[in-house]
């Protein structure tokens, strides 16, 4: 048989006809469309049993309650905890993106030992035993050489069991160099000490105030306990309460206030004293204050030195505005003046705080409803007395490296001075521990801080994330993140009623990490002797349970506990001589740099969408940053169109920004909401560490500014720096 072309065609046609009446083509079309709609590389989140767990957010000092939604053993969402006294269901965008910190790419997954040069990013994974013996060996050597005071630590705050474990560790070891990250509460604490004679922090009964006078505080930009302030702000709006915002830039807070009064930056204290003058001169002050110690000299001071005309000239606010502001403030039934710029990460000028506190006292709202309260946290940490051996005794008698307690008698910690002290050769450290802080990024003049760290032979980071400080450390002993560990979270942050919260392990530790509390104890135990005896607990959890005592059960069940009214300290307001001396000698802290080489003034601004402390912005948060703040790899500098025109700068242009401390390439954003001659940059950008979603974006404001030591407190009071902006 001859199989020709036709036969073949016929076969094919038969085949085609046959195929058409089989399921094959139809089924393949269906299946391939199903396949193409469900690509195998598109993740399918597994379903399971839903549950909810309550805990506390620790990403900022705000102390919000959180509810975690879980599907089986995964956490899929963080929400604000309903009924929590601070946030009652609401939550800020950092808190909401917390899962990206838990499961995200910035985690340090095991203990790491540096193998390359510092900051080179070359690490060797080591075991916990190796890591702890490494630290122990170093510490034992230093101690036996009688150099115990050359060991220091930097932690996020002074309160809570973990910072206190560090403090106890250093004390037992023999070093006074327990340092904390600065904040406005340092200055407020000192103000209350000097003017009320109490050792307390400032709490604000903001919800009950009816006239809020804010000297640059970012009420809705992350000041205090952020969500609580948001809620207070909404309540003010609903009830017709007045907010006046004084700052040179139209911040979100200024835009939401009832009146925005632009002021020449750095002259806030002068305005406060001028307002005091108007209040006293018009006899609008409370009767009680006029009977207080030193009132007459204060009266004389403000009347002689702070005449309305002079104040108007210094602050750039016209006299009529000053007078009417003072009158409205004093006549309100529950006025409240607050200060501490932006989110309050820079302690600020002590005199400014005292002047503002004096305003509160003049209108009689100290420890009153809607006023400023002197509050303390409940002292639940009652550990057995520490037995110090001779090395410890010796070491503790040495002066602190940062000069707190000696050069500056009122200060507890002056981390802002550390870089200068080390870099000028006035002091040195052998070992530094860093926990819950990222000083190489978040301290002003962060480059100088890095230089100082470079000269410390052994840097140990306890960070859960690969932040700038961890990146430049010799050893990283990663802590669990807050969703993996138990820890007490005492919250003051300007609350009128302090609260203690408890974080709890919502999920099992995702990586080979250890609780920092456990690590501190393990090191102490490995050092032996008195060091081991100082920590009689089996584990951190045991320590925490014992410390909290009856509170433990309440905290586990409810997640938080109020300390109630027991925390308010009575202490009459007085213009004590020391306070008056300081106020009389007051000259405003000026911006660094000469006006000729640097014609502009650069100020920072805070936005709630950018974290600028220990935590870096998680991907969701950085995604929410506006394109007028960050564009591509550049920060945008805000500049008044008038100033822009003078400099020939137009919207979106690149410019070179130069300050006495550093320089950066920025993008120009013309903004009508900023005072001519002033330019502003956001804080929280310019990270070099973390992940690709954050690193290399924008410039770090802290590289452009240096600390300015307050003459009385020694704390950093820098509010800006002189700058030059040129086209590139």
């Amino acid at each position: 048989m001859n199989i020709g072309r036709r036969s073949f065609l016929s076969f094919v046609i038969g085949g085609a006809a046959g195929t058409a009446i089989t399921p094959l083509p139809w089924k393949l079309i269906d299946d391939s469309s199903i396949w193409s709609q469900n690509w195998p590389w598109t993740p399918v989140p597994p379903d399971g049993e839903y549950s909810q767990v309550n805990s506390v957010c620790t990403l900022c000092p705000g102390g919000c309650g959180i509810t975690l939604r879980k599907v089986d053993d995964r956490v899929v969402k963080i929400e604000g905890m309903k009924g929590h006294p601070i946030n009652d269901g609401g939550l800020c965008l950092m808190g909401l993106s917390g899962l990206q910190l838990l499961y995200g790419p910035t985690r340090v997954k095991t203990p790491l030992k540096r193998v390359g040069k510092r900051g080179e990013g070359k690490w060797e994974k080591i075991s916990w035993d190796e890591a702890i013996s490494e630290v122990t060996k170093k510490l034992a050597d230093i101690r036996s050489n009688g150099e115990s005071h050359a060991v220091g630590s930097i932690v996020d705050s002074e309160s809570g069991t973990v910072p206190n474990l560090f403090k106890r560790f250093l004390t037992a070891y023999g070093s006074p160099n327990f340092m904390t990250m600065p904040s406005i509460q340092d200055t407020y604490g000192m103000t209350l000490q000097l003017m009320q004679g109490v050792s307390a922090q400032a709490g604000f009964d903001a919800e009950n105030a009816d006239f809020i006078l804010s000297f640059g505080s970012g009420i809705i930009d992350g000041w205090g306990s952020p969500v609580r302030m948001f809620k207070a702000n909404s309540a003010w709006k609903a009830n017709g309460k007045k907010v006046v915002q004084i700052e040179p830039r139209l911040s979100n807070t200024a835009a939401k206030s009832d009146k925005w009064i632009p002021i020449k930056p750095g002259t806030e204290a002068v305005l406060a004293l001028g307002l005091a003058n108007v209040i006293i001169t018009n006899s609008l002050d409370s009767k009680k204050i006029s009977r207080s110690t030193g009132f007459e000299s204060f009266k004389k001071l403000v009347q002689n030195e702070y005449s309305i005309d002079k104040v108007s000239k210094i602050t750039g606010i016209n006299s009529a505005t000053i007078v009417s502001l003072a009158k409205n403030f004093a006549r309100a039934s529950k006025p409240l003046a607050i200060c501490g710029k932006g989110q309050g990460s820079i302690p600020g000028s002590l005199n400014e705080f005292m002047a503002v506190h004096a305003l509160n006292a003049l209108v009689g709202n100290i420890n009153k409803e809607g006023g400023v309260w002197a509050v303390t946290e409940t002292d639940y940490i009652k550990w057995p007395k520490l037995e110090m051996d001779s090395v410890a005794e010796n070491g503790m008698q040495k002066e602190r490296i940062d000069g707190a307690g000696s050069e500056y008698p009122h200060a507890n910690s002056l981390l802002n001075r550390l870089a200068e002290v080390i870099n000028s050769g006035d002091g040195s450290l052998e070992v530094i521990f860093v926990s819950g802080a990222n000083p190489l990024y978040s301290m002003p003049d962060s480059k100088a801080m890095k230089t100082a760290f470079d000269s410390i032979p052994f840097v140990v980071s306890f960070s859960s994330y690969m932040d700038e400080t961890a990146d430049n450390a010799d050893l990283i002993l990663p802590n669990h993140v807050y969703l993996e560990r138990y820890e007490d979270v005492p919250t003051l942050a300007g609350l009128s009623k302090p609260i203690v919260g408890l974080t709890r392990p919502v999920v099992k530790p995702q990586f080979d990490t250890k609780h920092v509390g456990d690590v501190v104890m393990l090191i102490a135990k490995a050092l032996g002797g008195g060091m081991a005896d100082a920590f009689p607990w089996e584990s951190y959890e045991a320590c925490l349970k014992e410390t909290l005592g009856v509170k433990w059960d309440v905290l586990v069940e409810k997640g938080f506990e109020f300390n109630g009214d027991k925390c308010i300290l009575e202490g009459d307001f007085n213009f004590y001589p020391e306070a008056m001396k300081s106020l009389s000698n007051f000259t405003p802290v000026s911006a660094e740099g000469s006006a000729i080489s640097y014609p502009l003034i650069l100020i920072p601004y805070d936005t709630i969408r950018l974290a600028n402390g220990y935590i870096g912005d998680p991907p969701f948060a950085i995604k929410a940053v506006e394109d007028t703040v960050l564009k591509g790899k550049n920060s945008c500098v805000e500049i008044n169109p008038k100033t822009g025109k003078e400099l020939g700068l137009t919207e979106g242009r690149y410019a070179s920004l130069l300050t006495p401390r550093g320089k950066a390439k920025v993008k120009v954003h013309l903004y009508e909401g900023i005072m001519p001659g002033i330019i502003a940059l956001p804080r929280g950008l310019g990270h070099t560490a973390y992940d690709k979603y954050l690193a290399g974006k924008g410039c770090n404001f802290n590289e452009l500014i240096g600390p300015a030591e307050d003459p009385v407190s020694g704390l950093d009071a820098a509010w800006g720096i002189r700058a030059r902006l040129t086209k590139v």
Binding site: S7, P23, L28, D31, I34, N38, E49, Y50
Partner: protein
């Protein structure tokens, strides 16, 4: 030239018609066999359940029928295939000597490992299905969609579509896509058929579709076989 053509015509007319038809039939037969017999075998891979499960035995032993193990949680979600924790309530130790029981206790219970059951009714991720709406509100029987699985003594072979990765139960055992019973197929049209033929009593008064004269694309394709009531029910009811 012309003579050659004529010759060729002659040849084909006389001697080649038979082979041509034969080849046509051959082609037809080959593809029919391939399409109906071989293709389904190639398309699906056969997988065995990790443990041969006896539903009859379990249904007899429990009190509340299907819902004893496949229950609703308080939040309205459906538990689906039980988790190990639930099995352990009864099976902490091996009950009886069945090799499957021994395997289950030794491999999974003892190690705290979840059994990787193969789910016959697993739908793509884009499908939202509410058991509560069907079982509780519409008071439907489990068997309507899941068939007589509760009366099985052994676990069936799980046939996985090599292209889509889903079970053969979705398309139906019958490769032609025809079915006799409601539970034999779980495609969108099967859901839609019920939603269209059964009078779905909605609690709402719906507004008329403004362009009624214009058939929607999907309706057009499926003709009168099944209608996805996009107007009344909306896509989001079954998709996520």
């Amino acid at each position: 030239m012309s003579t050659q053509d004529d010759k060729a015509k002659e040849v084909s007319a006389d001697g080649a018609a038979g082979p041509i038809i034969l080849f046509f039939i051959l082609g037809l037969a080959a593809t029919l066999v391939f399409g109906w017999v071989i293709f389904p075998k190639l398309l699906y891979s056969q997988k065995k359940q990790p443990i041969d499960f006896n539903h009859i035995l379990h249904v007899e032993a429990v009190e509340e029928g299907c819902e004893s193990c496949h229950f609703f949680r308080e939040d309205g979600s459906f538990s689906g295939i039980p988790k190990l924790a639930q099995c352990v309530e009864c099976h902490e130790d091996a009950q009886g000597e069945d090799p499957n029981e021994v395997k289950f206790v030794e491999e999974y219970v003892a190690n705290g490992r979840e059994v990787p059951w193969l789910v016959y009714a697993r739908q793509p991720d884009c499908v939202f299905f509410s058991h509560a709406a069907h079982v509780k509100k519409a008071e439907m029987d489990c068997g309507t969609c899941h068939g007589h699985i509760g009366e099985s003594e052994h676990s069936r072979v799980y046939e996985e579509n090599r292209i889509t990765g889903y079970s053969r139960d979705i398309w139906g055992k019958n490769i032609s896509g025809l079915r006799k019973h409601t539970w034999e197929r779980m495609k969108m049209d099967d859901c839609a058929e019920c939603h269209a033929t059964k009078e779905i009593k909605t609690d709402v008064e719906t507004l008329p579709w403004p362009i009624n004269w214009l058939p929607r694309p999907y309706e057009k394709q499926t003709g009168n076989q099944a209608r996805v009531k996009t107007v009344k029910e909306a896509c989001f009811v079954c998709h996520k």
